[in-house]
Structure formats: C-alpha cells, structure tokens
Amino acid sequence: MLELAIGIIVGCCALGAGIAMVAGIGPGIGEGNAVAKACEAIGRQPESKGAVTSTMLMGCAIAETTGLYALVIAILLIFVAPNLLVNVLLGALAV
C-alpha cells in the first residue's frame, strides 16, 4: 500500500512537471514573432541592424520570463517535491 502511495506521488509530480512545461509554447510563439519582425525591419533598413538586434534580444529575454517560471516549477516538481511529499506522507503515517 505504501509503495503505491509513493508511486502515485512520484508519478503525479512527473506528470505535473510535464504539464507545467506546456507554458513553453507561449514564449516560443512570442519570440518567433519578435524575431520575424526584427528580420523584416533589418531587411527594410539594413543600416539599423545593431540597434534592432540588441532591442530584439532584450525583448526576447523579457518574453522568455513566463517560460522560465514554468521551468522553475517543473524543476521544483522533479527534484524537490517528491522528497518533500514522501516525507509528509511518512510523517502522517507515523502519527
């Protein structure tokens, strides 16, 4: 019975991490749009390449933030949550 409970905890943590990383879609689309527009701008005005590139990198880094929040959640779910939850379960059983 205990093995089953621990298995459910670990499995659900892995599933949750996978679902959390669905958030990676958003930054992907957003950064793709940003780079496409930057390419258009450079094509139209090649002399402004430096300014456009640095602004684009800046914007990409900001757009990436939501994806990185998801990454942090996924990493917490994989590396931290299983130990924590199993300890909570064992503590509850001991009481």
Binding site: M58, A61, T65, L71, V72
Partner: protein, 305 residues
C-alpha cells in the same frame, strides 16, 4: 620613453596573472577532492561544504558561494593586472583594451540612463563581469554560481534596494503615493508588481543558466548510452568507449555556456539600468532641491533681521 620594461615589472605582471588563475585552480582541486564518485546521470545542486551555526537559521557555505568568491578574486587580480603600468599615453595593448572596455561601459550607461547616473558605469561593469565570468565557469566543468538561485537572488535584491533608494530620493511621501497610481484601489497590484521585479530578474538569470546545465547533463548521459548500444557488441574495454561524447556536446556548449551566459549578463545589466533610471524622477528631485534651498535662504534672511 624607454621601450624596455624592467625585470621587476615583468615579475609583478606574472605574479598578478598567476594570482588571477590561482582561485580557479583551487576551486577545481576542491571539486576533484570532494566530488563523490557517481554513475550515470548526476544532477545535483550546489554541494554544502560546511555549516555555520547561526541563531535563527544555520548558514550553509556551498559550492556556489565558494565559486563566486573565486570569480571575484580572479576578477580583482585581473583588474590589478590590467591597471598595472598605466601611462598617460596609451601605448600598450592592455591599456588600449582597458580603455575600450571603459569607453563601452560608459557609452552604454550614458545611452541608457542619462548623464545623471554617470557614476553607475563601474557598478554596471562589475555586474557584467561577475555574471559573465560566473556563467563561463561551466566551460571548465565547475559549478556555475549563477545556476544557484541564492546567488542571483542576492544580486536582484541589491538592484531592488537601489530602485527603492532612488524612489525614496523624492521623499517618502511621494514613494507611498506612487503606489496609489493611477487609481487608489490598484495599490495591492502595484505592491505585487514592485516585488515581482527582483523575483523575475533572479528567476530569469537562474533559469537560463540552469536549463543549459540540465540539457548538457542529459545530452552527455544520452550520448553515453547511445555509444554503448552502438559499440556494445565489441569485446572488453573497446565496447565502453563513449565515442559520441567527443565533440557533440561542445557545439551545444557554445550556445548554452558562452552565448547564453554572456547574453544573460548583458540583459541583467540592461534591466538594472532601466529599472534604476526609471525609478528616479529627476525633475521632481530638482524641484524639491530648489524648494529646500529657497526655504533655507528665507530662514537665513529672517534670522539676519
């Protein structure tokens, strides 16, 4: 001007270079001595070297802290090396390189923050240098301090203190009032967005570097397994050669370690400049200063009478 440098000068040069390399070598030796032997994928956080007893919570001295101290020491001695033997005319390669760095950072700060923050060039250069060198430590196989959230949180907290300091320069009342804009009932949201600034800065830097580390470890383990399945039928030690691990991880390392590390250093510095310069309302500050001077003058005139 004599072209020949004295022997003393060269000896000090070599000494400074050795001192710059020494902390990194010490950290590498420390890693080799303390790393436990592991099989397969080993993806751990920073190892704890020792614990200092503290009243509220124990303080852990971890690999991340030791590595960042080593980076700080290395940059310190590198700076001493670069500034050694400065002359009024830039006639050595190192002085020309140094002047290029200083000109670039001053141009960056003046372009992004305005001339009111001219003194910030050293701070921004320090942030870029520390962050970039910390991320580049992973090229040597060491634990990059920026992939530990505690380190980046510390930096972000520093930036948050700077932002608050510059907001408070226009008076504590104005600072409290700025939360009630544009409407008073939005104050809780404004407080949240104020707190979210350092959190997102810390998570952005940490997440970017950590994702590179995780992908590198996974790729290394995957290539090892793949090469052992390809060559597994060969007898003895021949079947255990991880030939796929040669070269392929280096291509990803150029992106994740070199490009991403330097880009994140640049972005952290850019965000610092933007947040700090937008926190300071220079017109309001000048107006308050003028008002204060006027008041003091009036008091002086009154006391003279």
């Amino acid at each position: 001007m004599d072209k020949k440098k004295s022997r003393n000068f060269k000896v000090i040069d070599m000494l400074l270079l050795c001192l710059a390399a020494l902390p990194i070598i010490i950290v590498m030796v420390l890693k080799i001595l303390t790393e436990p032997a592991s099989e397969g994928i080993s993806l751990t956080g920073a190892r704890i070297f020792f614990t200092v007893k503290m009243p509220l919570q124990d303080m852990y001295i971890t690999e991340a802290q030791i590595n960042s101290w080593a980076v700080i020491l290395a940059i310190f001695f590198l700076c001493l090396y670069f500034t050694h033997g400065l002359s009024q005319k830039a006639n050595t390669k190192r002085q020309i390189a140094l002047e290029w760095i200083i000109e670039k950072t001053e141009g960056l700060v003046n372009g992004n923050m305005g001339t009111a923050f001219a003194g910030f060039a050293t701070f921004i250069a320090a942030i870029i240098g520390l962050s970039a060198f910390s991320s580049l430590l992973s090229l040597l196989g060491l634990f990059p301090p920026t992939s530990d959230i505690n380190i980046t949180s510390g930096w972000a907290l520093m930036v948050f203190i700077l932002i608050t300091y510059y907001k408070l320069k226009c008076g504590p009342l104005g600072y409290v009032k700025s939360f009630a804009e544009p409407v008073a009932f939005l104050a809780p949201l404004n407080v949240i967005s104020e707190v979210a600034t350092p959190v997102s800065m810390a998570f952005r830097h940490y997440g970017n570097i950590l994702s590179g580390v995780v992908i590198s470890v996974l790729l290394g383990a995957g290539l090892k397994g793949l090469s052992s399945t390809v060559l597994g039928w060969l007898p003895g030690a021949l079947g255990e050669i991880p030939f796929l691990q040669v070269g392929i991880p280096a291509i990803l390392s150029i992106y994740f370690d070199v490009f991403s590390g330097c880009l994140q250093a640049y972005i952290f510095a850019m965000l610092t400049m933007m947040y700090v310069s937008s926190a300071f309302n220079i017109d309001e500050f000048e107006r308050r200063k003028l008002k204060k001077q006027q008041k003091r003058l009036n008091n002086y005139i009154n006391s003279e009478d």
